[in-house]
């Protein structure tokens, strides 16, 4: 990425600007892909962008940054996402 010199403070974009936010999680979303209908509601409504959408529209969770809010599980029309207690 191009870097700028200026007489002010400039921050640069990267993943994990606030660290590995996955460590904030109390509950971990686990997707049962065998009954997922690929409606992508979890992907659309994840605030963090931590639900990953593959080329075939199957979804997976980016556990490095998922904060465990549970919106994906609550909004899933087929209830295929379980929230499991972190160890």
């Amino acid at each position: 990425m191009e870097r700028y010199t200026a007489d002010t403070t400039i921050s640069y974009p990267c993943d994990g600007a606030a660290g590995r936010t996955g460590g904030w999680r109390d509950f971990r979303p686990v997707i049962d892909l065998t009954i997922c209908i690929r409606c992508l509601r979890c992907w659309a409504y994840c605030p963090e962008g931590a639900v990953l959408r593959a080329d075939d529209d199957s979804v997976s969770i980016n556990y490095d940054y998922c904060k465990g809010c549970g919106i994906c599980a609550y909004e899933c029309p087929k209830k295929v996402i379980a929230m499991e207690r972190e160890e």
Binding site: S11, A17, A44, P47, E48, I71
Partner: protein, 307 residues
């Protein structure tokens, strides 16, 4: 527009410093999907600014100008002028301000930028409180809501900011909700396609500030629309049209749900239900919503002329 058609490209990086279930982050993500990389954001003091302000890292994949609380509109005017000078008139300049930076502290500079016809989009993400500083009341806080500065419930009604913006005779004014994401995406794209000053307001439930379980965040926004506490509409050159569920309600095809269904799920209204029900306040809130909808009917019929 279906969810499948939303672009895959993400301009927000994961791992931002915002709370879990933050709908500010969700609507930012969707707005940047709609606008694409040729976008400059201006963020006055707000939750977003505290997410963006970290040094040396930021989650934003587009340039962000973090600005003083009152200066959102003024900074956008400057950014638009500077980009014009550089010959880059195809860049979307977007102010991304909270309800404090819109309804209260940011009002005059925004009003000025609108009146001067600046070619930009002003987005107010409205969570009805000053959440970044620890949940104080704002001009957008609804009657009866607990905040740290209204600990027996707010005694005043909220302002109607979209109507104030309609009175500026803007080419495009729209309200949206984090819970109707395709509608929100469409309105952002439409705003970007119109020249001149545009105003968008997003209703975004805030789990820590409103005190409800965070996984129900999207449901809370949906209930706000279904009970009529929030209305989805857009005004093209002053002609007001309601959208989705709000249109059904206005046309009498769907009944509004009782406002209590929305209030009783939120800790900020718990004092209206426990230890005993505050019938007077609850009836007052319902009457206020009823009156608002009478007004919406007139608004849809008459609109606001532009020019």
């Amino acid at each position: 527009m279906a969810i499948k058609d939303l672009p895959r490209e993400e301009l927000m990086h994961p791992g931002a410093g915002s709370c879990p279930a933050c709908t500010d982050l969700l609507t930012l993500r969707m707005t940047l999907k709609a606008l694409g990389p040729k976008t400059v954001l201006v963020t006055p003091a707000s939750c977003t600014a505290s997410v963006a302000c970290g040094y040396p890292k930021t989650p934003f994949g587009v340039p962000v100008l973090t600005m003083a609380f009152a200066a959102g509109g003024a900074a956008a005017s400057g950014a638009v002028a500077a980009l014009h000078r550089l010959g880059e008139d195809d860049v979307n300049v977007v102010v991304w301000a909270g309800d404090g930076g819109t309804y209260d502290i940011g009002l005059q500079s925004m009003s000025g930028a609108m009146e001067r016809g600046t070619n930009f989009i002003f987005v107010c993400y409205n969570n009805e409180i000053y959440s970044n500083t620890g949940v104080q009341r704002s001009g957008a806080t609804p009657f009866g809501a607990w905040t740290t500065t209204t600990w027996k419930g707010k005694v005043d009604q909220r302002k109607d900011m979209p109507a104030i913006m309609l009175a500026h005779r803007l080419p495009y004014v729209a309200t949206a909700s984090a819970s109707y994401i395709e509608d929100l995406y469409r309105k952002v794209q439409k705003a970007a396609s119109i020249r001149g000053p545009k105003y968008l307001e997003f209703h975004i439930p805030c789990a820590p500030g409103w005190r409800f379980p965070m996984e129900r965040t999207i449901e809370m926004g949906r209930l706000a629309v279904e009970t009529g506490a929030w209305a989805l509409f857009e005004a093209d050159d002053g002609k007001v049209e309601f959208n989705l569920r709000s249109k059904q309600i206005l046309d009498g095809k769907t009944q509004r749900k009782p406002i209590e269904e929305y209030l009783e799920l939120q800790g900020r209204f718990a004092h209206l239900f426990r230890p005993e029900r505050d019938e007077e306040a609850l009836a007052g809130i319902q009457q206020f919503i009823d009156r608002e909808w009478e007004r919406y009917k007139q608004l849809a019929a008459c609109g606001m002329s532009v020019g």
